[in-house]
C-alpha cells in the first residue's frame, strides 16, 4: 500500500515537473517553434560552425556569425571582391553628384524576395532608415554620414550624405536589404520602443527572414543553429553542385568540432579552434586546412594619456623590445607581419610603412631618452579573457620588458569589463590587448574608427590620442572621393601614426579553417594558386559560390 503511494507520488511529481516545465512554448511573435527541420540524408549541405549567438536581422547583427548568416540570407547594393574592389550587386549602377553628397543607385528590377515579391527601391531606403533608427548592428558606419535616404521611383534610391565620404560605396556591403511590407506586417505593437513602429519587427526577424539572398530560412533555432535552404529564384541563378542547404551551428567545442569533421557532419570549421585541433583535423583523410589573410589585426593599445605610456620614447622602447618573431612563429604561427595602423590586406594600406621589429639596443636608447629614464617603471596590462592565447602574448611582453627593467602587471578581464574601462582615461590601463576587424575593406574605416578622437572612450581607441591635427587629416582624407588622392592621404596618415607609436601592432590575422576536400570554395582555389583571398567578415563564407563534389 505504502509502496503504491510512493510510486503514485513520484509519478505525480514527475508529471507536474514535466508539464510545468515542458508545456509547449508559445510561438508568438514568430520565435522559433520547438520542431526540427528535416534535411534529406543525401542532400548537399555546407555546414559550418561559429561562435554563438547569432542575430541575423540586418538592423541588429554585426559580429562574425551574424555577418556570415546575414550575407547568405540578404543582399546588399554592392558586393566585395577578393581583391578588395567592389562590384554592383542589387544595384545595377550609381551616380554621384558633383559635390559628392548625393548618391543615386539604380536598383535591379529582377531581384525577388523570398516571399516572391519583387524588390523595389523603397525597400532599400526603408532598410537604411530602419538600421539608422534602431542604432544597432552596423548602424555606426552610417550614423553621421547618411543624412537622408529615399526612393524616387521603384528603381531609384537616393542617399544624401552630410559630408563627402570617400569609402561610402565600400561601406554599403553592410547595408543589407529587407522587404519593407513583410517587416511592417510583423511589427509588435505591444512594444513601444520605436513608437508607432512598435518593435520595428525585431522580434519576428530574430528567427524569420525578409531577405532576397541565396538562402532562405528553413529553420532558425536561436540557441543552436541556422538552417537555410537554397532560394531557387535567386537573381544570380545557380550553378550545378551548389549546396542545397547552408547551416551554421553554435558548436565550437574542439572535441565536438573534431568529431563532426571526422564523421563528415561538418564541411567547414570555425576560425577560432586551437592550433592543435586544426593540425589534428588536417591529418584526417579528406580534410584540408585552408588559410587566408583577413583584415583583422592584433593591437596592443598604449594609453598615451597615462603615466609612462604618455612618453613617445617609452612607447618606442616597448615597440622595439617586443619579440614579434616569437609571436608570429610560436603563438600565432603563420600570422602576417603588421605594418602600422592599417591591415596590410586593405585597399589604402601604404606598403612604404615599415614594421617595428625587435632591436633591444634601440629599445634601450629610446628608454634612455624618455623622461622616465632611471625611474622604476611598472606598467599595467589588460588582456581579453575570451581570447586565451592573449595570455601567452602578455607573458611574452612581460619577459621582453624585464630586459628593460620594466615591470608588467598582467590582468585578465572579460571584454565587457574592458569596454567599461575604456570609457575614461583614468580607468584605461596603460596597455590593452584588442583584436580589431575592419568593418569593410578600405583603410579609411580602420583609420577613423581606431585613431580619430570621436572613438576615444570606446574599446576601439584605448590609445586616447586626441590629436586635432590627426583628426583633421583623417576627416580630410575621408571626404576625398577620388580613390588615388584619398589613398595618398591615407599613406600620409599611416606614417604620422606610425611615428607617434600609440600602438604595438602585433600581427595581421590569418584565418584558418579545416575544410572537407569534397567542398569547392573560392578560398581553397585562391590558396592553391597562391593568390590572395581577402573578404570582409562574413563574405568569405558566401555559400552561393561553393560547390559540393562528392
Amino acid at each position: 500500500m505504502q509502496a503504491r503511494r510512493i510510486v503514485s507520488l513520484f509519478l505525480a511529481v514527475l508529471l507536474v515537473t514535466g508539464l510545468a516545465g515542458c508545456a509547449k512554448p508559445s510561438v508568438e511573435n514568430g520565435t522559433d517553434p520547438p520542431t526540427s527541420a528535416v534535411v534529406e540524408e543525401d542532400a548537399s549541405i555546407v555546414h559550418t560552425t561559429e561562435d554563438w549567438p547569432t542575430y541575423y536581422d540586418p538592423g541588429v547583427g554585426s559580429d562574425y556569425s551574424d555577418s556570415t548568416t546575414m550575407v547568405n540570407v540578404y543582399d546588399a547594393l554592392v558586393f566585395p571582391m577578393p581583391d578588395g574592389s567592389i562590384r554592383p550587386h542589387v544595384a545595377k549602377e550609381w551616380t554621384v553628384s558633383d559635390d559628392y553628397l548625393t548618391y543615386t543607385f539604380t536598383v535591379r528590377d529582377d531581384v525577388k524576395f523570398h516571399s516572391g515579391n519583387l524588390m523595389k527601391a523603397s525597400d532599400v531606403a526603408y532598410s537604411m532608415n530602419r538600421m539608422l533608427e534602431i542604432g544597432e548592428g552596423y548602424a555606426y558606419l552610417y550614423k553621421g554620414v547618411v543624412e537622408k535616404c529615399y526612393a524616387t521611383d521603384d528603381t531609384h534610391v537616393v542617399f544624401e550624405l552630410s559630408q563627402p565620404f570617400g569609402p561610402f560605396i565600400h561601406s554599403l556591403i553592410r547595408m543589407l536589404i529587407v522587404e519593407e511590407d513583410l517587416v511592417k506586417q510583423h511589427y509588435d505593437l505591444t512594444d513601444n520602443t520605436y513608437g508607432e513602429k512598435g518593435d520595428y519587427g525585431k522580434k519576428w526577424l530574430l528567427t524569420n527572414d525578409a531577405g532576397s539572398g541565396p538562402y532562405k530560412t528553413k529553420e532558425f533555432k536561436l540557441d543552436e543553429y541556422f538552417l537555410g535552404e537554397r532560394f531557387e529564384d535567386y537573381f544570380l541563378g545557380w550553378e550545378e553542385g551548389a549546396p542545397k542547404y547552408f547551416k551554421i551551428s553554435g558548436m565550437v567545442e574542439p572535441v565536438a568540432v573534431r568529431t563532426a569533421m571526422a564523421n563528415r557532419e561538418l564541411e567547414i570549421t570555425d576560425e577560432i579552434q586551437p592550433l592543435e585541433n586544426y593540425m589534428a583535423m588536417d591529418a584526417f583523410e579528406g580534410v584540408d586546412l585552408v588559410t587566408f589573410r583577413s583584415g583583422n589585426t592584433f593591437n596592443m593599445m598604449l594609453n598615451t594619456k597615462a603615466k609612462y605610456t604618455d612618453d613617445i620614447h617609452l612607447r618606442k622602447a616597448i615597440a622595439y623590445c617586443f619579440d614579434y618573431e616569437t609571436l608570429r612563429t610560436s603563438i600565432y604561427p603563420g600570422a602576417g607581419e603588421s605594418r602600422g595602423p592599417v591591415a596590410t590586406v586593405l585597399p589604402g594600406f601604404d606598403p612604404t610603412v615599415q614594421a617595428y621589429s625587435r632591436d633591444i639596443n634601440k629599445a634601450k636608447e629610446h628608454l634612455a631618452q624618455s623622461k622616465y629614464a632611471g625611474e622604476k617603471i611598472t606598467l599595467n596590462l589588460t588582456w581579453c579573457a575570451e581570447v586565451p592565447e592573449q595570455e601567452k602574448i602578455a607573458l611574452l611582453l612581460q619577459s621582453n620588458l624585464a630586459e628593460l627593467n620594466i615591470d608588467l602587471i598582467i590582468t585578465k578581464k572579460p571584454f565587457g569589463s574592458m569596454i567599461a574601462d575604456a570609457q575614461t582615461v583614468e580607468t584605461t590601463p596603460q596597455i590593452s590587448f584588442v583584436n580589431f576587424a575592419a568593418p569593410y575593406f578600405e583603410a579609411g574605416g580602420m583609420l577613423k574608427t581606431r585613431y580619430h578622437s570621436s572613438s576615444c572612450g570606446t574599446w576601439e581607441q584605448m590609445e586616447w590620442l586626441q590629436d586635432p591635427e590627426l583628426d583633421a587629416m583623417i576627416e580630410d582624407a575621408l571626404s576625398t572621393v577620388d580613390d588615388e588622392a584619398r589613398f595618398a592621404k591615407y599613406a600620409e596618415i599611416q606614417h604620422y601614426i606610425y611615428n607617434l607609436c600609440p600602438t604595438i601592432w602585433g600581427f595581421n590575422w590569418v584565418e584558418r579553417r579545416a575544410v572537407q576536400s569534397y567542398l569547392r570554395w573560392n578560398a581553397i582555389d585562391a590558396m592553391n594558386q597562391n593568390a590572395d583571398y581577402f573578404m570582409p567578415m562574413g563574405y568569405a563564407l558566401w555559400a552561393h559560390d561553393m560547390k559540393i563534389v562528392k
Binding site: L19, S36, Y140, P414
Partner: protein, 341 residues
Amino acid sequence: MVLRWLQRIGVYFLVLLGLSILVFVIARVIPGDPARQALGPRVSEETVQALREKLNLDKPLFTQYVLWFKGAIRLDLGDSLLTRRPVIEDVRRYLPATLEIVLLSAVFMAAGGILFGIVATKYTGKWQDALIRVLSYLGIVSPPFVWAVLFMLLFGYIIPVLPTTGRIAQSVAAPTRMITGMYTVDYLLTGNLAGWWDAFKHLLLPSIALMLGGMAQAARLTRSNMVENSMKDYIQAQQAYGVPEKKLLYKYLLKPSLIPTISILALDIAAVFGNAFLVENLFNYPGLSRYGLSAMLNKDINAISGVVMVFGLIFILVNILSDMVVAWLDPRVRLMGGADV
C-alpha cells in the same frame, strides 16, 4: 506530522529566497555591463542606456530585486538578453531536454549502482568485488566532462556508432506533437519508433557520462552497507532459521542497506543538473544547462537568475522525494515523523 512538513516547506521557501537574492546579486556584481554586452561594443551609448533603463539597471540594487521578485512570483522572470524571449519561455523550451537526460541518468545511476553493489556484496573478497571497487573509484575520481570527452572520441570518432551532437539527427523530423517536450516520450506517445530510437541514441552518451560518478558512489555505498548489515544479529538469526539466500539478500538485507544509498542518490541526481552545464555544451545538446552556461558567459542576468532558480526548485523537489523514499524504507524515520506517508 503536518506541522513538521509545513516547517520543512517553510525552510525550503527560505532556501529559495536566499538563493534568489544570492544569484541576483552575483549576476549583477560580476564585471561587465549586461546591456553593453547584449548590444555589442559598437552600439551608441544612448542605445545602451535605453536598454539599461528597460532592464531597470539604472535603479538601486534593492529596487531591482524587488521588481524582479514581484515578476518572479507571477512567473515573469524577465526577458533573456541572448534569445530576446521571456526567460520563462526559454525554460519551458529547454528544460524538457535536460530533464530527459537527467532522468535517464538517474535510472542508469540507481539501477547500475544498486546492481553493482549487490554483486560486490555477493562476491565479497573475490575478483568481482575487487573489479567493481576499482571501477567505482575510477567513476568517482573522474568528472563527467572527462567521460564526455572520452566517449565522444571513442564512440563518435574511433568507433563511430553513436551520435555525439544535438537531440536528433538532421534527417529525422521532430515529434509531430510536443506533449511533454521530452523527445523520447513524445515519439513514443505519437507512435514514432524510429524517431524514438534516434532520440534515445542521442541521449545515451551524455547520460552515461553524467551518471558514472553517481553510480560508482551508489555501488560503493550499497556494498559497504550490505556487508555491514550482513554482520548484524537479525541477519545471522535469519540465516540460522534457514531463510533462503535470495530472500535474505533482497528482503532483509537490501532494504535497510539502501537508505544511505537513496539519500546519496538524491544528491547525485541533483548534482547531475550542475554537471550537465559542461556536458550539454560538449555534446551541443540544447538543454537548460547549456542555455544557463551561455547565459553566464554572456552575462544574461535574467536568464542566469531564471536557470538557477529552476535548478534550485528541482533540487528541493528531489530532496523531498528522497525523504519520502527513505521514510518508506525506514519505519523509524516514519514513526519519528520524518514524513507523512
